[in-house]
Assembly symmetry: C2
Homo-oligomer: 386 residues x 2
Amino acid sequence: MLQDQQFLRIPGPSPIPPSVQRAMSQPMIGHRGKETSAMLQTIKPGLQQVFGTKQDVAIITGSGTAGLEASVVNIVQPGDEVLVIVTGAFGDRFTKICDAYSIKAHRLDVEWGQALQPEAVQQYVQANPAIKAVFSTYCETSTGILNPIKELATAIRDVSDALIVVDGVSCVGGVQTEMDAWGIDIMVTGSQKAFMLPAGLTFVSASERAWAIIEANTQRGFYLDLTKYRDNLLKDTTPFTPALSLLFGLQQVLQLIDAEGLEQVYARHTLMMNMTRAAFKALDIPLLTTDEHASPTVTAVKPEDFDAEAFRKVIKQEFGLTVAGGQQHLSGKIFRVGHMGYCSPADVLQTISMIEIGLLKVGKKIMLGTGVAAAQQIYVNEGELV
Amino acid sequence: MLQDQQFLRIPGPSPIPPSVQRAMSQPMIGHRGKETSAMLQTIKPGLQQVFGTKQDVAIITGSGTAGLEASVVNIVQPGDEVLVIVTGAFGDRFTKICDAYSIKAHRLDVEWGQALQPEAVQQYVQANPAIKAVFSTYCETSTGILNPIKELATAIRDVSDALIVVDGVSCVGGVQTEMDAWGIDIMVTGSQKAFMLPAGLTFVSASERAWAIIEANTQRGFYLDLTKYRDNLLKDTTPFTPALSLLFGLQQVLQLIDAEGLEQVYARHTLMMNMTRAAFKALDIPLLTTDEHASPTVTAVKPEDFDAEAFRKVIKQEFGLTVAGGQQHLSGKIFRVGHMGYCSPADVLQTISMIEIGLLKVGKKIMLGTGVAAAQQIYVNEGELV
């Protein structure tokens, strides 16, 4: 096999664009100097645009989970009641954070591979008026579901003042996100998915309504206290030493997004989703999710007549192509193909062409080229968008 | 279009592997220090293996043309007669170098797209006993021909003592090269093709027979005097300041070749040629060369019912995919797809999938996926080699 070549098609971390890689290798600078302030000044409006908000977006050095924890500890207290909508592995994580802080988390489980139903959440919140916040996941990475968070926010706000918190880690930056217009109170994402960076930064933004709660809250922890990030950001600085290389990279990422155009970025992700789904349909291999609730950033595939793990092993060995397996009870039963961030329609075509050979090698009877042709056809039909 | 993504599928310069890019970004060192000597010590045997020779391989900082010029000025003198076999644009270059030094170059022109015929060369050399050297091209980049240089060397040696000089710029490192066993007297290549580096280094090796001529030669120029390179290489150094970043990269390239295995590297190139050719045949688009004389590093395509230049423009615009056009009288009439160096069968599949869409966009009636399927089938049939 060609040395030094790997195809990373998992739902994050995602590949790093060359210019971002170069940006990150800039010499270190002082984090309290003018250069860092100037960099933060250019980063701030870019993040706001991606989040669809006029609020500040806190830049926290940490994994996405640190951002999720920040979204919990800043708005609720031990003993408070919240609702966590669990549509997969990452919804589940919110309940664990709540447990660690003795927050009473109600759990609304949705079958994995299904999207949350706003009406069901509305009924639950109505029946449990003590619920102070509802935690949900925008793209459920473990199943490839894109939850209808706009409709969710509307449904909750109709009946309750509970804050609406959204984990947007595996899609914000690749999928339209209108935090202000949709009435989302806290939105969290990480750097290693559609943001095309290594993991190490998490971004958190809060609505005016959320800020009122946060400011009234007397126990916000220390490192994850969002007021520290907001107050420092107003002075173009950070409360703690930031991961400067990642900030160099973030600045370049935002320039790339700006050069492509945010609407075009979203259209490209939708196109890549449609191409990927069309390919598997043409190959007669079932998808885990419906078209209606499919995520533009990751596609989960549920093979019926071949072994997902054997298949993953073969494509890794043949081509250095990595796709993700299933998590928890879906382990071994599905595989997930990431198509986010630094990924193009041409990359999707290449991924499908390798997947077809892998399928043949694990004994699946397919006609070579079928999936590629279906994906190409989608590109030809819809590609004008890009 | 996705920013920051380009697909370089021309017959060189070729893409740089990430680990080579990283190696080249090492801090500068002194070129007369122990580190450079240690580096040259590891590079020397690697180059010899690729050239198939026990002779030293001179590392000259310069373009491939500097290497070609070295192969002329070290062995012949003004007024000497030589034979240049011209199978395309790069054969032609030898005649220009000879002109610059008032060397009398006989010219044996072969129709572009055809390979040289060893018997014809033999007859020419026999009829012109004053010929002191025969210059030929291993892979003729402008047409995608791989000339039968092993047979050429045998045919010439049977009737003449003329030195056999081969321009191997666009294939050595990707195609089997046995300088010693085949009786090649001077072999030249450059860094920017199958060597997966930026341009800037040229490698020249000479046989014992050639060294006798070189040493007897009193006018070898200065910078391109091969004895300077050989004598310094024996002491693990270079006569002039070398392009150190490229040496860092070369060291890593040789490690990559060693890790893959040289035989595997050759098998991969042959496979990529076969995949590319099968795709165009399945798409019913004529190739410029026959299977017998096709180069494993570049494929020239000769469209009959669409415009090559319009097609090249479309794929560049849609995908950032660059393939080469034709040179001189083939300009506008052919296009050339490079598949050498840091290029995998998966990259060939991707290239074909983009090319198919480009064909459709310039009005060529094709069934999408046809070429990809043919290339995939070749991979499945022959891929065990890799």
